[in-house]
């Protein structure tokens, strides 16, 4: 048996944890640079706000209706998320962290000795009490059915947030109520094709002939159909698979024409990516830099370009990556254009320690470099940091706007909740 624990409107709910006054009020969270809505509470939804609505368009009406908006506060969200995952690890023998606000639990071993519905409520209540986060719990014999159950738990308030799909009868009932596009793994394109052949709900998909699905669609969808029938095809992934690439990109707070500022930005992204790469104990052999102008400003000359810089030897040294990022930028930058986004991507990964010997860079030197990077990473986890490279810039004029950000209640001494 599997359970899916899924937070309800995660970002918006995080904003409520330290703000009891927001309990019944509409809450939305905005993307980088306060561009558009990336999360919204039930109350905001009922005002007609939708995901991806541009903030400048809805701002006035939304505020008049008593709504409140926040810039993304990733420090807070990450902390609440890790607390929730901690709690789940205490409750279940094996968990897979599926995203910042969802986790699958493997219930084999405990499914014979506890009532699953009661277990679901225990998860829900513990998380609510310990963190303030409302969650839904879906339980089913496969991961895909656990997702179906979670859909039901969110959709129907009378379930009180927990749906147990152990019984075939209940599976059938809910699958018939569930539109096929809501099924885990069915994308928009696939859903249109399915509708064309008359498949509109999840139950119809489960009933399709597997060979027919393989021929007409693909093996992945056949797997989904088998999972909907209760056959386990997708197992729990406890170890997150090592990344194949790392991308760091941001939209600027304003349009940038100055090469120096662009260099600062991509150096900063390269340094951030380097930290991620070292955390994964990987090295890379390719760094790509990209920039683009604002495609929505039709009046501006448009330009988007990507340039890749290969390394002779795989590296995860911040200095190498920064140098390559600047080199790449100098290749693609064009004068007098107004750029609004830049980014870097690392790819072609190797395990740390797997490299050829280098004639010109002796082993000792390499050890020293590695120690230096390790030391910088360590210092940066403490309040002695951050140590950054001058190339990353000091003022960071290009960096994004987060004007309506809530305090970092749990990660910054200066931002602790004040109580009278």
């Amino acid at each position: 048996m599997f359970a899916l624990v899924d937070c309800n409107s995660f970002y918006a709910s995080c904003e409520r944890v330290f703000r009891p006054d927001l309990e019944k009020r509409p809450v939305v969270v905005l993307s980088n640079n306060d561009g558009c809505v990336v999360a919204l509470s039930k109350e905001a939804k009922s005002l007609g706000i939708k995901m991806c609505d541009p903030w400048f368009k809805i701002k006035k009406d939304y505020k008049q209706q008593g709504g409140i908006a926040f810039s993304s506060n990733y420090e807070l969200y990450a902390d609440i998320s890790s607390r929730i995952m901690d709690i789940l690890e205490q409750l279940a023998p094996r968990i897979e962290i599926y995203s910042i606000d969802e986790a699958f639990l493997d219930l084999s071993g405990i499914d014979s000795c506890v009532n699953l519905d009661a277990f679901g409520h225990q998860c829900l209540m513990t998380i609510k009490k310990w963190t303030g986060m409302p969650v839904s719990v879906g339980i089913g014999p496969t991961k895909t059915l656990a997702k179906v159950a979670s859909y039901g738990a969110k959709k129907y308030p009378q379930t009180k947030g927990v749906v147990d799909l152990s019984s075939k009868e209940r599976q059938k009932k809910l699958l018939k109520l569930m539109p096929v596009e809501e099924v885990w793994g069915v994308g928009r394109k696939l859903h249109q094709h399915l509708n064309k052949i008359g498949v509109t709900n999840a139950y119809q998909l489960a009933q399709l002939d597997l060979n027919y699905i393989r021929k007409r669609f693909n093996v992945v969808l056949a797997k989904t159909a088998r999972e909907l029938r209760g056959e386990v095809c997708i197992d729990l992934e406890e170890q997150p698979s090592t990344k194949k690439q790392i991308v760091v990109s941001r939209t600027f707070s304003r349009r940038v024409t100055d090469l120096n500022l662009l260099n600062e930005a991509v150096s900063d992204y390269a340094a951030r990516a380097a930290v991620k790469l070292r955390r994964e104990k990987q090295t890379c052999k390719l760094l790509s830099v990209f920039i683009r102008t604002n495609p929505f400003r039709k009046q501006d000359t448009q330009h988007r370009e990507i340039f890749s810089v290969p390394f002779i030897l795989p590296t995860n040294d911040s200095r190498d990556l920064i140098k390559a990022a600047r080199e790449g930028m100098s290749q693609i930058f064009r004068k007098d254009l107004q750029y609004n986004k830049a980014g870097i991507m690392l790819s072609d990964f190797y395990d740390e320690g797997v490299y050829q010997l280098d004639l010109f860079n002796p082993q000792e030197r390499k050890e020293l470099d590695k120690n230096l990077m390790g030391l910088i990473d360590k210092v940066n986890t403490t309040n002695l940091g951050p140590i950054t490279f001058l190339a990353q810039g000091i003022k960071k004029e290009w960096s994004m706007k987060r004007e309506m950000q809530s305090p970092r209640y749990t990660t910054n001494w200066n931002d602790l909740l004040k109580v009278n």
């Binding site: 006054d21 310990w130 986890t381 909740l417 009278n420």
Partner: protein
């Protein structure tokens, strides 16, 4: 007041940095006779925190709880996982904001301040009382 020395403190914020004091220097020469006695330094977190996932730090503001030993600016260690019992100091939601008060459940539910200047807050309906957590410790800095 009697005080007792508990030993040296671990650096709470920096507990991830381990500086190997003994290992590097003993490659040559005589090993330190203290090597066998290395113990983990005392960790303040261990003393103050029972349940990491449910523990939050908040800052007290004002003098409404001074008689409970909570000064203006004190850091409060709040455990959300504990049941709020009669007589406990809690963080409760009072008209839309969190406040630190002593909880009285009988004869009638009240939130009490620990300073004569502030009158008790009545809880009219049980549903109106929303408690975030129980205060386990206050850290005052002098």
């Amino acid at each position: 007041m009697n005080v007792k020395n508990l030993g040296h403190l671990a650096d709470v914020n920096k507990s991830t940095i381990k500086i190997p004091i003994f290992t590097e220097k003993v490659k040559v020469g005589w090993p330190s006779p203290a090597d066998d006695y290395i113990e983990r330094p005392i960790d303040l977190n261990e003393y103050l925190v029972n349940n990491t996932a449910a523990t939050y730090l908040v800052r007290a503001s004002g003098d409404s709880m001074v008689n409970a030993g909570i000064n203006d600016g004190a850091i409060l260690v709040v455990d959300r996982s504990l049941e709020a019992q009669h007589g406990k100091i809690v963080i409760a939601s009072v008209s839309g904001a969190y406040a630190c008060k002593r909880l009285q459940l009988y004869p009638k539910p009240l939130l009490l301040s620990e300073n004569i200047k502030y009158p008790p807050i009545e809880i009219k309906e049980e549903e109106d009382l929303e408690i975030m957590g129980v205060v386990l410790a206050a850290i005052n800095q002098f």
